[in-house]
């Protein structure tokens, strides 16, 4: 039987009662739980839901960890606000706790930053079963160590998240999406750099290296969009085809990216952080006359302005990542599990990582991070 606590205190009770456990959300990133051995009892956040506190005037919202991202977004939208990092898999049912624990951000992070730039406070249950607070509920706070940041990407291995406080922003009035076609990945990487360095202030940028399309989104005042679009167009060399999508097509595209519906259903899914411009290193031959030498790395998408690749677990890609020393996180394996969290180059083992795991989870109540 899965445990289903309905309050932070109940979560702490559950955890104290279970010598080995792991908090789980809606299962939209199944590999993150599937890789934990069975002895770790699953504690579901299904009933740990709700908006605890929302102060539009403060730009802050506090929510229980099991609250669906989609629900938070609709509450914020009613006040003209949003989470600017487009948390992925919202429509698939992702919870906010799972999003933080997995450390995931979507396309909008290009402009104002990924999830780490918006999480300002946490309440979580540590390995001793204590309900602990880190950070705060005001947008600016420098008191104590930055536990909220440390728990981003901690995969439930350092503690169970109970409550999260985010900074939120006013939602732009309007947005427009454009596509630049016939763009070889190598050139796309260069264009990403150039546009990213300009003051055009793009809201999102993503690149489909197989389809050779670079997608972009501008957001802001309705009255200014037309002129801003013109400036982007003038930045792009004439050899590329520049099209502005209809609002519906634009929304559909970003949604497919965010929900990973551009991949076949149930296909594996990996997140690979790269430096901006790293794409040029990973796709050095694609689109050149050496294209045929390029091993098939499977479907993939460059997102967040070129800071991340979403890909599958294709073995040719993995070899390539090992050579280039990039590591990915497997969110979804074949079926449910991939037998490992990590993909590509091995993660360095450090004494401090072990010591910190021990500091938060001295009795190994939560699964290991390896």
């Amino acid at each position: 039987m899965t445990l289903e606590p309905d309050s932070p205190d109940a979560l702490a009770d559950c955890i104290r009662a279970a010598p080995h456990c792991l908090a789980v959300g809606a299962g939209t990133k199944p590999n993150l739980a599937a890789t934990a051995p069975e002895k770790f009892r699953r504690v579901s956040t299904r009933r740990l839901t709700g908006i605890v506190d929302y102060e539009p005037s403060e730009f802050t919202v506090t929510v229980r960890a099991g609250t669906p991202v989609a629900e938070i977004e609709s509450v914020l939208a009613a006040e003209g606000q949003y989470l600017p990092f487009d948390p992925p898999l919202a429509r698939a049912g992702a919870t906010i706790g799972g999003t933080v624990a997995a450390g995931l951000s979507g396309s909008g992070a290009c402009r104002f930053g990924p999830i780490r730039d918006f999480l300002i406070g946490v309440r979580f249950v540590d390995g001793e079963g204590r309900l602990v607070t880190g950070g705060g509920k005001v947008v600016k706070n420098a008191a104590g160590f930055d536990l909220p940041k440390f728990l981003i990407g901690s995969l439930g291995r350092l503690g169970a998240l109970a409550e999260l406080t985010f900074k939120v922003f006013p939602k732009p009035e309007a947005s427009v999406t454009f596509a630049i076609q016939r763009m070889a990945p190598f050139n796309a990487a260069r264009l990403l750099n150039r546009i990213g360095r300009s003051s055009l202030d793009l809201d999102a940028m993503a690149c489909d290296p197989e389809g050779e399309i670079l997608w972009g989104r501008l957001a802001g005042n309705e009255s200014a969009l037309e002129k801003r679009l013109e400036r982007v167009r003038s930045e792009i060399q004439r050899e590329y085809e520049f099209t502005v999508t209809t609002p519906e097509a634009g929304a559909r595209f970003w949604e497919s990216l965010r929900e990973f519906t551009w991949l076949p259903p149930k296909s594996p899914l990996v997140k690979i952080p790269i430096p901006i411009g790293g794409g040029a290193e990973i796709e050095p031959l694609k689109g050149t006359r050496f294209d045929h030498l390029w091993p098939h790395p499977g479907p993939r998408f460059y997102d967040l302005g070129g800071n991340v690749i979403w890909a599958t677990t294709a073995s040719e890609l993995e070899k390539f990542l090992q050579i280039r020393n990039f590591t990915g996180l497997i969110l979804r394996g074949h079926g449910e599990s991939a037998h490992s969290l990590w993909f590509g180059a091995p993660r360095p083992e450090t004494a401090i990582a072990r010591a910190l795991k021990h500091a938060l989870d001295p009795h190994d109540r939560f699964p290991p991070l390896t």
């Binding site: 005037s57 705060g136 990407g153 750099n193 005042n221 967040l304 450090t350 500091a359």
Partner: protein, 480 residues
């Protein structure tokens, strides 16, 4: 200790290892001039390897060390520990890599904040965190304190702009946390390190994110007949859906001081002024400025000024940026706090600070980052008057408690240091602090890195006088 010092001498040439009390005097205090302590020695490394060697030697002998950048901490963060050494990082001041393609700079910790922006500006990029000490404070200090500035609401603090770092931990372990990507997987070690107040070890190489500088600014100054009216104006801007780059308020005492000091030409007789600055692509700013004009108009200001060019923009900011040192000149001594309150309670907080100030018989000037509720009350007193310092500290304590009571924080950017460590347990519960302690011990089991800081319970160091930082007295920097 004797054998430790001998071995230290083997690591550093005599001109880079200060032991003479005359030389040590320069390192006794930081920007919190109220406290003073003389270290055993000051080591001045020139390379990361030398820092690592020094830290490893300290670890081996259990000797405490304090990393020091420019010593501008306002909370006593870089105050030396008497039984330990100071590791001064100013000579690790190389920009190791400027990668304009990846929008990344890799710098040594002694590089000054403003130098990064100066190096990046020709490429249209800048390092966004801009503490008002930016001409003089180091990136290492910014990292340790997660320093802020006037643009935090929109752009975030230092931690939002540090992508990765290499550090020597207090155990002697050298680590590389994360890299040049804005994204990461696994726990955010870099995020944890930033804001550690020097308690984990010493950052050796810091990977910074460079961001495009806004193309266009629109700066408005509005004078009001009451502080509350200015506070309401800020609230209405926030509620409107605009996201300004900066929103600041100054009260009458601060305005008068700034006027006397730099002749900034702010509206005379105003009880408060608000500065709002929009930024972004020019078309975007053009649309926003109309919205802003309507909001400001509706807030019934006594006077409004709109900067027509860069010179006028600079003039508006000059009054704001000089405010603290200007107020400091009104009084022989002062204390500055940087607590945070929820924005909607700014008016109430200011009223109550006003009442506390009258009760204590001490003047308080207010200059603050209104956009994120970050107060900066400046408590003026005369240290020569018996009991004045105690009254000033008591008032400062009441203000910190007020921030906690209102659901805010005791520090928005200056850190806990030695100054506010007794208040940490009022903002956090015992379990919260225990977890922080365990994290500290994971990095530093012998508590040799910046011993006695942040956590309550340590012995108070010697008090000296309050007043302006020596560099402020010289007019080199001013504080926010």
């Amino acid at each position: 200790m004797a054998s430790f010092l001998k071995q230290l001498e083997a690591l550093f040439p005599a001109d880079r290892l200060l032991v003479d009390p005359v030389h040590l005097a320069a390192y006794e205090s930081d920007g919190l001039t109220a406290y003073r302590a003389t270290p055993r020695a000051v080591a001045i490394p020139e390379t990361a390897e030398e820092v690592v060697d020094a830290v490893r030697l300290c670890a081996e002998h259990g000797v405490p060390f304090v990393a020091r950048g420019s010593g501008t901490s306002l909370s006593g963060g870089s105050l030396p520990v008497e039984e330990g050494i100071v590791i001064a990082l100013n000579r690790l001041n190389r920009i190791l890599k400027l990668d304009f393609d990846s929008h990344v700079a890799i710098v040594e910790p002694g590089v000054l904040n403003l130098q990064v922006t100066q190096a990046a500006l020709p490429h249209g990029l800048h390092f966004a965190p801009d503490p008002s000490s930016q001409q003089i404070c180091t990136i290492g200090g910014n990292v340790a304190f997660n320093s802020g500035g006037a643009h935090c609401l929109r752009h975030g603090m230092t931690s939002n702009h540090v992508l990765g770092l290499r550090a020597v931990l207090a155990t002697g372990e050298v680590v590389q946390f994360d890299g040049a990507s804005r994204e990461r997987i696994g726990p955010d070690f870099t995020g944890l390190f930033v804001g550690c107040e020097g308690l984990f070890g010493i950052a050796l190489e810091i990977t910074l994110r460079l961001t495009p500088r806004a193309e266009c600014f629109h700066t408005v100054l509005a004078g009001y007949e009451s502080l509350e009216a200015a506070g309401d104006a800020v609230a209405s801007v926030v509620a409107s859906g605009l996201l300004p780059g900066a929103m600041e308020i100054m009260d009458r005492l601060a305005i008068q001081a700034a006027e006397a000091s730099v002749k900034c030409g702010y509206p005379e007789n105003a009880e408060a002024v608000m500065i709002v600055e929009l930024e972004g692509p020019r078309e975007e700013v053009a649309a926003d400025r109309e919205k802003l004009a309507a909001l400001v108009e509706a807030s019934r200001p006594a006077e409004v000024r709109v900067a027509r060019d860069d010179a006028e923009r600079a003039a508006i900011w000059k009054g704001r940026k000089s405010a603290f040192s200007a107020v400091g000149r009104l009084s022989p001594d002062f204390i500055v706090q940087d607590g945070v309150v929820p924005r909607k309670r700014l008016g109430e907080a200011l009223r109550r600070i006003g009442a506390m100030s009258r009760e204590a018989g001490l003047r308080v000037a207010n200059v603050f980052h209104a956009g994120d509720g970050n107060l900066h009350p400046l408590i003026l007193y005369d240290g020569r008057e018996p009991g004045a310092l105690d009254r000033a500290e008591a008032l400062a304590g009441r203000i910190l408690r007020l921030c906690i009571e209102m659901g805010g924080s005791i520090t928005g950017e200056h850190g806990i240091g030695v100054e506010k460590r007794d208040y940490l347990p009022e903002q956090f519960g015992p379990d919260d602090i225990d977890v922080m302690r365990r994290i500290r011990l994971a990095f530093d089991p012998d508590e040799i890195a910046n011993r006695g800081k942040m956590f309550p319970g340590a012995e108070a160091p010697a008090l000296s006088q309050h007043g302006l930082h020596p560099l402020e007295k010289a007019g080199v920097i001013s504080r926010e």
